[in-house]
Symmetry: C2
Subunit: 242 residues, 2 copies
């Protein structure tokens, strides 16, 4: 089966969390948003599929994954679905619930990262909420960023092992997502991350480990990997990186 | 088995979404935060359980549910776990994925509702971010509130049936959560909801239907049900209800 990913083109955004799992597992997928309108892709096709009634079930927002007859929305829901199929989560129920909970904490973290540059709402330009963003950004850098990252450092430390895994003794999809979040934070908040990372040896080790996985490493240097830019979740505004 | 819910006392907050499922199903549960410190309950017991290493797995935030040996965090994760056990979700995989996706959309909605009064961060008092809250609140009332509620109205409309169910032809846990969100919004944004609800006949019908379920109705008038107040997610600040 070929998975179909529906996500906006041009930004890594939340779709990238799904891509990392598919790429790491080396499975075929159709990245609909990136394809041309002529071949049935592009933003229009994404919008139509998600908001339309293709499956009789309108979705609120992308990413959405189509897997045969199943249509699944929300990153954490998609990864929970893909995990067992791609060998990216342990088999037992306790581990799966724990992994999904960690992923949902990352979901909350990503929303807070986004809101540093859009504290009033996504419908206003950054420039129209820049003063508020500076206040929120300062609180984020001082309080929320260390709180979340120290939490994941603690999870890694408690899960003692020879390598940096969040869950059990093997690589899982939530490791890929934490890799993406930290990579995005290094892009968006380089000063704050330079200051903070020495306190986070396990998190840093996880990012190093993930980046060296053969298929993922090949993906990261391919033209399929989208650079962070000035749209989407992770944006580098130096005035917020205090 | 007696479920144990770990959530802060004194506010309905996110814990209430879990309580509604347990109460609607009529199962026994121990509401640890509400119990006295003498009997091993209270905020201290919640904090210790969640952040401690009882299960070798620190959780980021409550609510957390303990079900025998399993420990589960995040509302959507808990409800997904409880759904099949309490008869609050259909059996088939497609329905379960769809229900969980709807719940995760409600999760996002609840976070946005919270951030109307805390646009800069939860660590500042409302009074210290009131001007920003007024701007965010206005955007929320004009754009986000109708967008989310019309989305759920559309899901209900597309799912044609004789009664207002979000999923299939039966009551499910996400119906209970939408009930709680709308009830909270009526408390927090009475003017905006008065204006909007005539456009939302299916949503209103769902709230009516849920409120008349016998066990839930008994719960809502019991002293176990916590009133909305000036803490937690749903707060009534008239200056935000434009």
């Amino acid at each position: 089966m070929t998975y179909e990913l529906y996500y906006w083109p041009g930004i890594p955004g939340r779709g990238e969390f799904v891509r990392l799992a598919l790429e790491d597992a080396g499975v075929d997928y159709r990245d609909v948003g990136k394809q041309s309108a002529n071949s049935g892709g592009g933003a229009g096709a994404v919008s139509e599929f998600i908001h339309g009634q293709a499956a009789g079930q309108p979705h609120f927002a992308p990413p959405v994954l189509k897997a045969g007859e199943l249509v699944i929305s929300h990153v954490a829901n998609i990864l929970q679905f893909l995990g067992p199929r791609l060998g990216l989560v342990p088999d037992d129920e306790a581990s799966r619930l724990w992994t999904h909970g960690l992923q949902l904490t990352l979901t909350d973290f990503v929303a807070e990262i986004h809101d540093t540059h859009h504290p009033l709402g996504a419908s206003l330009y950054y420039e129209d909420q820049q003063q508020e963003a500076k206040r929120r950004g300062a609180i984020f850098v001082q309080e929320r960023l260390p709180k979340f990252l120290h939490y994941f450092e603690r999870v890694l430390s408690v899960n003692a092992g020879n390598e940096a895994y969040l869950v059990g003794t093997a690589h899982s999809y939530v490791d890929l997502s934490l890799f993406q979040v930290v990579t995005g934070l290094r892009y968006a908040f380089p000063r704050a991350m330079d200051r903070l990372e020495p306190e986070l040896p396990e998190v840093t080790a996880l990012v190093d480990r993930v980046s060296q996985r053969p298929r993922l490493s090949a993906y990261l240097t391919s033209d399929r990997r989208l650079d962070f830019n000035d749209s989407g979740v992770f944006r580098h505004y130096p005035e917020l990186d205090t």
